[in-house]
Symmetry: C2
Subunit: 155 residues, 2 copies
DNA sequence: CATGAATATTTCAGGCTTGAAGGAATTTGC
DNA sequence: GCAAATTCCTTCAAGCCTGAAATATTCATG
């Protein structure tokens, strides 16, 4: 950091703030659109879809705390979402042999089928929402976002 | 769109999905960090800060529906947040002369002072969280995000 | 001017989210 | 083997958020 940058409110500071505001705007906008479509098309929600996606990537199942870690969401939150998925029959809880505290959560066959249906559609939605992005734009965004992602980990 | 791109799951599709997932991860991560700091440092929240920021940019005040438009949040949501800000003394509701349906919401002097304090700190937090971003990165991100922002408006 | 349409806001149910507190089971250290 | 610390999960209060319904007021039109 040079002397010229050592005070707040440099041009760079302002640009970073602008990036943050745009990041928020774009992410919230896309999320709102995807949430609405999820609701109308599947009668589901993004958090439920996220849980199912995590379970789909772990065919052996995940513990509640495993879900909490993977999704970076509080434990209590996972409890509520899994409760609803169980009520819908998309997911099942099972005992963990050696540990009576833990629960293993797995997609049911119905949940697996439904997830595949949702995942394909969801991917197409994202693709359409990002239609303006060519391979170059995507690479540039991934690079920039990668920097932000790395820095956060350090906190 | 060329013939090669006319089926789902092209490399570009995958890249777009990757961008979306990273966007979500970075935004959620930063938001969680900012939320926590807002809570600890100011006993406040991002939604309340957003409302105050909108009002700070409109010294004449905003109607409830104006806030709803600017923040892109539902009407009912604004009601609750403004209720809390009123209870805290940061914001006041006033009658609109010609229209007894409407409410004009304004920052109180205390709310204005508190907002300035929060805004300065918030900007510094964002700056620090994005320390890895140089002017070039910021410009690239703004450009890429701008494309996503534009496309959404078309929905 | 009356009445039906449009507008501004609130209320509500349902769901997501957190942080904190609590209960149950396991692990650790002596 | 046992007490203390840790781990796993749930519960809870408070807040945010949406979409839909209800209320109140204003506008438009005949």
């Amino acid at each position: 950091m040079t002397v010229l940058e050592s005070h707040a409110d440099t041009a760079l500071s302002k640009d970073r703030l602008r990036v943050w505001l745009k990041l928020l705007k774009v992410t919230r906008g896309m999320e709102a659109e995807l949430r609405e479509r999820m609701r109308v098309e599947f009668g589901s929600t993004l958090p439920r879809f996220d849980v199912m996606a995590a379970l789909a990537r772990h065919p052996g199942g995940l513990r509640m705390s495993g879900l909490s870690d993977v999704l970076r969401v509080s434990n209590g939150n996972v409890t509520g979402i899994v409760d609803r998925l169980v009520a819908e029959g998309q997911v099942a809880r099972a005992q963990v042999p050696g540990d009576r505290r833990a629960q293993l959560v797995r997609l049911t066959p119905a949940g697996q089928a439904e997830f595949l249906r949702m995942a394909r559609t969801h991917e197409a939605w994202v693709d359409a929402l990002m239609a303006d992005l060519d391979a170059r734009d995507a690479a540039a965004l991934l690079a920039g976002l990668g920097r932000l992602d790395r820095l956060e980990g350090q906190l």
